[in-house]
Symmetry: none
Subunit: 223 residues, 4 copies
DNA sequence: TATGAATGAGGTTTCATTCAT
DNA sequence: AATGAATGAAACCTCATTCAT
């Protein structure tokens, strides 16, 4: 009975090695500049072997990206498991995303691709589904928290949880994208404090969502 | 006296024709799927002629994108030339951007490329500079308006105009990106009203920036 | 044990097929008029496959040319392995070269390229080295024979073997070049007997190199 | 009447300027590496203007080459106008050719092209005819001299003048070609004295052509 | 006459992907 | 399962030549 399992384990190990190699190359070169040849060399495998494990370069790219998603998910889980009040947890979520941005910039950048529909020409349906599941998991976490905040009357009850989640995410993500491209320019030429900008934007949006009661209650959170 | 000028005009016309053809192909296929051969065929020119006018496919792509920038700039100019109060003008700006998103989706999508630094491998310095100038022009318009709002005590004086501009833009842009990808899903499966979402998010952010006095004065604007 | 070897053999076979196709096209069209596309079509391979085996069109051209060198070398070997006296062998060498010229005109003509340094712009160092080795092999054979003739006092001992080899070769080659271009004109308009011309020129040069003793001894050779 | 003539003169002058520019570029780069653009730039003319004066790049190349022919012809004329005995004049001819080789190497090298039939694809019939006339003029001079030598019983009367001319030329030319390519190698690695080699080869051939009487008479010429 | 622009052809290169073993 | 080889597509580039003014 052990043989099939060992085979399976070995196969998984090999997938992991390939992923490792791909990650290294994609981080260094980006999707376009990275070549399958280079990844194969890095993995010490023949180029065609990569195709036994991943259907296309884009699939491989997304597989690496999903590792990033997992990292992000873990950060989100930790940030929301502190037992603090819901509003604080939502604030924590923003901080966790910012931490992901700062500490895992390479993963963060991979989402550029994910967000450019034009580029996806070779993504397999399996991979699309896997990405979608991953995405859902994260959205689920965020939306659940917002629902809780509404239930607790911290957020107004005339807002839609999904809509709200998207606003929060888009606000943070849009800014971080911009920061990623302009970081040196902003910091050096324009003297903008990036951390403060992000926090302020988040504050704006959150306050828009909060009930008046909650605003008074949690005033200290936004100083 | 006219010959040199006519030549110049014709050359410009030819650049325009190429751009027209490129636009058509890029809109249909996207950057990667579009080929120079196809653009040349569409323009009824030899492929090498394209290279007389644009140094690379990416340059050509950006040239088309800059047409989009101009469209956007015109929309922005119109939106801010109505003689209305500054805050309304800023609101108009958001609406104008949304209009750009809805009516010129193809141009909107081209910015994906612009925002993915990894993809730029063949962009000439001239084109980079041209894009930068274009960008500056639009930012200048927005930032100018924000300065005016601060001077008029509509916006708080403890916010930074550039920072504020970026927050406004990132908020709208991040959402529209998301909408672009998820539009059918959101509308059909999740019943989210996209227009309302965007407007609401903008309201949140604007209100965060406004002085208390302005909030009372312009309460009607946000209903 | 056989797999690697079979692979090797197949690869060699493929190189051979490419060479065969290239030869056909080069013979028909010459270096400039031949296109890689045509060669690829002839070989029933993709154009990029050609570049897996040869680094440039010029390399491929020289590879074909070297086949000619081998043919020539074989003719030279046969001509000098008859067991006849050294002088006769040297005479045979001239005849063999003439035979090469007549029977392998296409190969002969390829040397035009080899001899025009201006034309070599894409020749790889490997190919240059290979050509050089080939060249050396042939010169070695000729020079060896001349040394023998000197040792046997058939050739004067005040001549330099290398110098002598070059004179013999240049004399024959220069004439054959001329013949190649002017053959119809000479034969038809000027009634020059080409075989006789070549033989006579060779006689002149050989006699200049021979000792008086040898001249008497081998007088019959030159009638 | 003067206008047409002035026009004609100006046109000739322009042809000359183009030739001058082409010569400079061809000397530096050779036929293949030289571009019409570069020649046009050198001539300070538009590229298409070149085509008003010469039908193709190859025509232009040959026009430059013919300037070389004229230089050679002048050298040959001088060498044969000294009033010395015919055999000496023939010897002088060889020296003159060698002088041409040494002093006008750039022109000498242009003949590589002339001698490679494969390369002539764009030569106009006019230019071919002009080259042919030029060629004839030089051959005429040489053959005339040989006829004279035969008439004076310096050369044997069983040799054909044309055949003899070709042998003399091919012998010298073949050697100089070889020298041109191998000069550094021969001089440095093989210690061959090039001048001596050439002279010796010429001696061999000349002696083969001479009558016994002449050999005695002109023995001093070959020491 | 002069020319800027256009062009077609083809060499070179790079790569993701596929194929045959 | 692993891989070396093949390949097609396309970008990029260069240039002689032609065209329209």
């Amino acid at each position: 009975m052990g043989i099939a399992e060992r085979k399976e384990r070995e196969k998984e190990a090999r997938r992991g090695e390939i992923l490792e190699a791909a990650e290294k190359v994609f981080f260094e070169k980006g999707l376009n500049q990275a070549t399958m040849d280079e990844i194969a060399a890095e993995a010490e495998l023949g180029k065609s072997t990569l195709y036994l494990y991943y259907r296309s370069k884009e699939d491989l790219y997304l597989a690496v990206m999903m590792r990033g998603s997992e990292v992000m998910f873990r950060l989100f889980m930790e940030a929301t498991s502190t037992g603090e009040p819901t509003l604080k947890l939502i604030r924590n979520l923003g901080d966790a995303y910012y931490e992901f941005f700062k500490k895992h910039r390479n993963y963060f950048r991979m989402y550029y691709f994910f967000e450019s529909p034009d580029l996806h020409t070779q993504v397999s349906d399996e991979m699309k589904a896997a990405c979608f599941r991953n995405d859902e998991k994260i959205w689920g976490l965020v939306i659940g928290l917002i629902r809780k905040a509404i239930a607790e009357k911290v957020f107004r009850d005339d807002i839609d949880p999904q809509q709200t989640a998207v606003i929060l995410w888009a606000n943070a993500n849009g800014l971080m994208r911009q920061m990623d491209r302009m970081e040196p320019y902003w910091r050096d030429a324009m003297k903008i404090d990036l951390d403060a900008t992000l926090r302020r934007a988040n504050t704006f949006v959150l306050q828009g969502m909060m009930t008046d009661k909650a605003k008074k209650q949690f005033a200290g959170l936004f100083e």
